[in-house]
Amino acid sequence: MNYTFQFGEVMAELPYLLGGALVTLQIVFFTFFLGAVLGLMGALGKVYGPTPLRKAISAYVIFITNTPALVQIFVLYYALPDAGILLSSMAAVLIGLTLNSTAYLTEIIRAGVVSVRQAEMDAAIGLNMTRLQILRYVMLPHIAKTIFAPLSNFFIWLMLGSSIAALFGVEELTGRAINVSSVNLRTIETFSVVAVIYIGLTLIASMSLALLGRVAFRVKARVF
């Protein structure tokens, strides 16, 4: 094979690619945090809600976690216009990934909710806390600490998984990589650089999450 690596043309596009990384981060933060809020409500509903609500949440989780995210976004982007709902590609991706992370996070957070010690709940009730105060001071710190590892894993999974946005023309990191490589035709170099950027993003995310866990929840997580 007589292939000469030429990174020059890719490096010239580095600011453009890093801009794409920023878009990736925006997608992930939006879908993760909205998914976490909705997932917390889903988890609480699944544990404490009335039976019809519990069944409805279970059905939602089963449906979403057993169909590919790609297919879900396809439906949002290409099928909904037939029903008169026209979404931009970015909106379709954000909605699709939020629906997805809501389902996964419901299950992850549920594991944390059921692990809250009844003894602490009794004490909180005995101390006359309101439901919201119990959630805020007793349940959430415990849940966050218990599910910190799967939550961090999911965050990374979501960051890498968000690359499917490129298929709908969203110019996040992978989307911009496709743009760059289709112009310079340096596919190997372009995607090597993009892979390194992804690794950089996930490392930064892992370390920030580990630091957050250590400071806020006394979780002794290690990145390496």
Partner: protein
């Protein structure tokens, strides 16, 4: 006026009747002890009083005012007057000792943080835990955790204190440190309702002893009536059995 008045209180877990009509009362500043075999409903009675287990029948009056357990407002008002200490301490694992003691007065009673922390420091000193403000519960022994739990209950400045077998999860050497703490409280005029198997302690601190069996009150009397001349056979058996050891 009778401080705590319980009439015909009944309580069930599913179809199983745990309390079958319990009647007892405590005057202000009294220390009423509940004794009786395991499963007789002593702990359930304390849990029912704070509304952790809902009573199915009967009446509870605190300082003459009837409690409506179906009304959240009424139950919240009730809980603002009493505090409960559990057998298994039930401290918040994710909070320091200081935070465990101060969280309720700060977040629920909305009192100034500095004032509450000063009170908490005083209470922790009183239970001999002044050196452990920043420790987490997992770093403490059972006896230490229980003393923090007592300080946490006292920080609510309750009028009635419920103590549910507070020494039975502790090893024998730690029992006395907790009993000493409670002994000191009896001089302060807080009405106390305590469940205990420490008979000599019960005899020493109680103004009244209530013998329970099978969800009912068998006999009520002064410590000397119950321990020296019980009138019911069940009480005689139980007291005789325990004092033999």
């Amino acid at each position: 006026m009778t401080h705590l008045d319980v009439r015909d209180l009944a309580c069930s877990y599913g179809s199983e009747k745990i309390l079958k009509g319990v009647t007892l009362s405590a005057e202000k500043g009294e220390v009423v002890s509940l004794i009786g075999p395991s499963g007789s409903g002593k702990s359930t009675l304390l849990r029912a009083l704070v509304g952790l287990t809902l009573p199915s029948a009967g009446e509870v009056r605190v300082a003459g005012k009837a409690v409506d357990y179906s009304s959240r407002k009424s139950v919240r008002e009730l809980r603002s007057q009493l505090a409960i200490v559990f057998q298994q301490y039930n401290l918040f694992q994710n909070m320091t000792v200081m935070r465990n003691v101060t969280i309720a007065p700060i977040t629920i009673k909305k009192r100034p943080k500095a004032e509450v922390e000063a009170l908490a420091a005083e209470l922790l000193a009183r239970v001999g835990m002044e050196a452990k403000h920043d420790a987490y519960p997992e770093e403490l022994s059972g006896g230490q955790q229980q003393r923090v739990a007592i300080a946490r209950a006292l920080a609510l400045q309750p009028e009635i204190l419920l103590l549910d077998e507070v020494t039975s999860a502790l090893d024998p050497e730690r029992v006395n440190e907790v009993l000493d703490t409670i002994r000191r409280l009896t001089d302060e005029g807080i009405t106390m309702l305590l469940v205990s198997h420490e008979m000599s302690f019960v005899r020493e601190v109680s103004t009244r002893v209530v013998m329970m069996d099978d969800g009912k009150v068998v006999e009520t009397g002064t410590p000397s009536q119950i321990f020296d001349s019980p009138t019911h056979e069940r009480t005689r058996d139980f007291v005789g059995m325990i004092l033999k050891h």
